[in-house]
């Protein structure tokens, strides 16, 4: 390994950009997971399978129906939102109603079961074949000896757009405000006449939709297959821990940070070690700062 290469500004630039693209996906996944955890208290183990659903929808719309890719992204968002709503109403709410005090850890196990079902249903319907889309946008931008494709930059742009839309929604709409209120104190929100039951459903749908968008955006890098969700799931857990459970802005920062860190690790060590680094990092953070990297100790997000 030639460390002096890291001094080259072009290489630094390309690596950082690649890291940000990676990080944008982690952030999208992490925000969804964090949102769901923050409001419902559920750690959604089937989050990777929602990513998978998004990528299949993208493939169907873009490759089979031949529509432009932004239609695919919108379709993925809508379809996976619908799936999220069904999952919340059909399963999670049932569990919440029946199980008592311990329903949170039970819900973790419930979503594990859901992940197994979704993954194998995909296997039955689409077989284990990978369905990819070659390139959403063509062309590349040179940086000295290296280059980065326009597509990667487009992915970064669309991810930012998705986050911006979510932020606008949370900041300015009635439902968004209600969600933020419920995140702070669900009981108080209910007393003030907010229908928390519907809010839970909408939130789960939103979190799911973000995972779906991530899956759709990254189809050229992660082609749709039944097990495509495994790595994004692992990374979104990492992001949520680093950013603090339930902390949405923390998830964005942690996602981007993790993405850049991994891009550099792959460059310096080799492919595969970035996952080890992430896992150790998460353990370290859980040990030293269990509330997340970006939160003052003792203050809950």
């Amino acid at each position: 390994m030639d460390w002096s290469m890291l001094a080259d500004p072009d290489i630094l630039m390309v690596l950082t950009l690649q890291g940000l693209v990676r990080g944008a996906m982690y952030a999208l996944m992490g925000i969804g997971l964090s949102l769901i955890f923050g409001i419902l208290g559920v750690v959604n183990f089937a989050h990777g399978e929602l990513f998978m659903l998004g990528s299949y929808v993208m493939y169907l719309v873009v490759s089979i129906l031949g529509m432009p890719f932004y239609f695919g992204i919108a379709a993925a968002a809508i379809v996976v939102f619908g799936c999220g709503v069904l999952i919340e109403r059909g399963l999670i709410e049932q569990l919440r109603r029946r199980a008592g005090r311990d329903w949170i850890s039970d819900s973790f196990v419930l979503t594990i079961g859901l992940a197994v079902v979704l993954q194998n249903l995909a296997h039955l319907i689409f077989s284990s074949r990978q369905y990819g889309v070659a390139e959403l946008v063509e062309g590349s931008v040179p940086f000295g000896d290296m280059e980065i494709s326009v597509e990667r930059l487009a992915i970064l742009g669309f991810a930012c757009l998705a986050v911006l839309l979510l932020w606008t929604f949370m900041k300015f709409t009635r439902i968004g405000k209600a969600i933020r209120a419920a995140a702070q104190n669900a009981e108080a929100a209910e007393t003030l006449g907010i229908d928390v039951r519907n809010l839970f459903t909408v939130t789960f749908g939103l979190g799911a939709a973000l995972a779906g968008v991530a899956g759709a955006l990254l189809i050229s890098i992660y082609p749709a297959s039944p097990t495509v969700g495994a790595e994004p799931l692992l990374k979104s857990f990492a992001v949520v821990v680093l950013g603090g459970l339930g902390n949405v802005s923390g998830a964005i920062a942690a996602g981007l940070l993790l993405g850049v860190l991994e891009a550099f690790t792959i460059f310096v060590a080799s492919d595969g070690w970035q996952n080890v680094l992430t896992a150790y990092l998460v353990i370290l953070v859980l040990l030293l700062r269990p509330a997340g990297l970006f939160v003052m100790q003792g203050k809950r997000a």
Partner: protein, 339 residues
């Protein structure tokens, strides 16, 4: 002893852990002994009755997963600790035994102890850093510890051969019994039954001892237990370490039985943890023996529907979901209907 345990653990008689609060203890114990005796007889005489390689390997996997499920139950059902990195501990047991045999020439038999020891040490270490955390943090932390173990194994091919697969020698022949690869797998089956019986009796004693009482108290209400000056973290650590060590022994058995180790997610990752967890939850938390019924049911389904391919895993998942929502106490709930 039996009745005093349930009486103390559940003063109001509503706690789910009380085995059978309305039945008198003595009669219950007699019945339990008869039932366990029947089960053991069945376990000993059924496989040689068929004496078929394929069926024997299925019996082996039923008992293997039954034991693993029971160990998982020792954590989740009695102390409320979820170890989502369970498969990582299994990997530690398997790899430490296999690598010691390969590099230092230790026998596979001492490997059982090595696997148990190393996994116990790792479990202790994991417990030390995780058990301060509660609930979901514990779940997430153990999940990452498990993944870290698997990924580290996978990324050190110079020692572990990574995903290429590590070939492991079988158990050495002992007492005139042949454990080589081509031999009758019945010998492995009986080895597993002996190992399982020892582990089950130990855990059965454990959950009835003072430690078992403390664990249940912690599971029911940790704050209340702490106010009684129980050192919560230490007791949890004990549970975690014992369970990890037993898992390591099973991992070592697995390594020498299977012959090839590979750090794939389905072998030593999330997939394996999910299987064990399903067995434990479907069997019923806080029952120990329920795992064997769940393992028999689940593996039976799996083998019977082998032609269905991925459908059987869908069935697995659906079963887990249904159990979680409708029968959170698992198969053990139906036990009473049968009596």
């Amino acid at each position: 002893m039996g009745e005093s345990v349930s009486a103390r653990a559940a003063p109001d008689g509503t706690a789910p852990i009380a085995r059978n609060p309305d039945a008198p203890g003595v009669r219950l114990r007699k019945r339990a002994i008869v039932k366990i005796g029947l089960l053991v007889l069945l376990a000993i005489f059924l496989p040689p009755f068929f004496d078929d390689r394929y069926l024997t390997t299925i019996f082996i996997s039923v008992v293997f997963f039954g034991i693993l499920g029971a160990i998982y139950d020792l954590m989740v059902g009695y102390a409320g600790l979820n170890n989502f990195g369970f498969a990582g501990v299994l990997a530690i047991g398997a790899y430490s035994s296999a690598l010691c045999q390969l590099n230092f020439g230790t026998s596979a038999w001492s490997g059982l102890l090595i696997g148990g020891g190393v996994a116990g040490a790792i479990g202790l270490l994991t417990g030390l850093i995780t058990l301060r955390l509660r609930g979901l943090y514990l779940g997430l932390m153990t999940f990452f510890v498990g993944e870290t173990i698997r990924l580290t194994i996978s990324n050190l091919p110079q020692y572990t051969r990574g995903t290429l697969g590590l070939t492991v020698a079988p158990f050495e022949n002992i007492l005139g019994l042949d454990f080589s690869r081509g031999a009758n797998p019945l010998n492995y089956y009986y080895l597993l039954v002996v190992l399982g019986a020892a582990i089950m009796l130990f855990m059965n004693w454990l959950v009835r001892s003072k430690a078992g009482l403390v664990w249940r108290a912690l599971k029911e209400d940790e704050t209340a237990a702490r106010t009684l000056r129980l050192r919560a973290t230490r007791w949890k650590l004990l549970n975690f370490t014992i369970a990890s060590s037993l898992t390591g022994v099973m991992g070592s058995f697995y390594a020498h039985y299977l012959g090839v180790l590979s750090p794939l997610p389905s072998e030593f990752g999330v997939g394996r943890t999910v299987e064990v967890l399903t067995v434990a939850y479907v069997g019923g938390r806080g029952t120990l023996w329920g795992s064997f019924f769940a393992a028999a049911l689940l593996i039976g389904i799996q083998e019977y529907f082998r032609g269905l391919g991925a459908w059987r895993l869908v069935l697995f998942g659906v079963l887990l979901i249904l159990v979680m929502i409708f029968v959170p106490k698992g198969l053990a709930r139906f036990k009473r209907l049968l009596q």
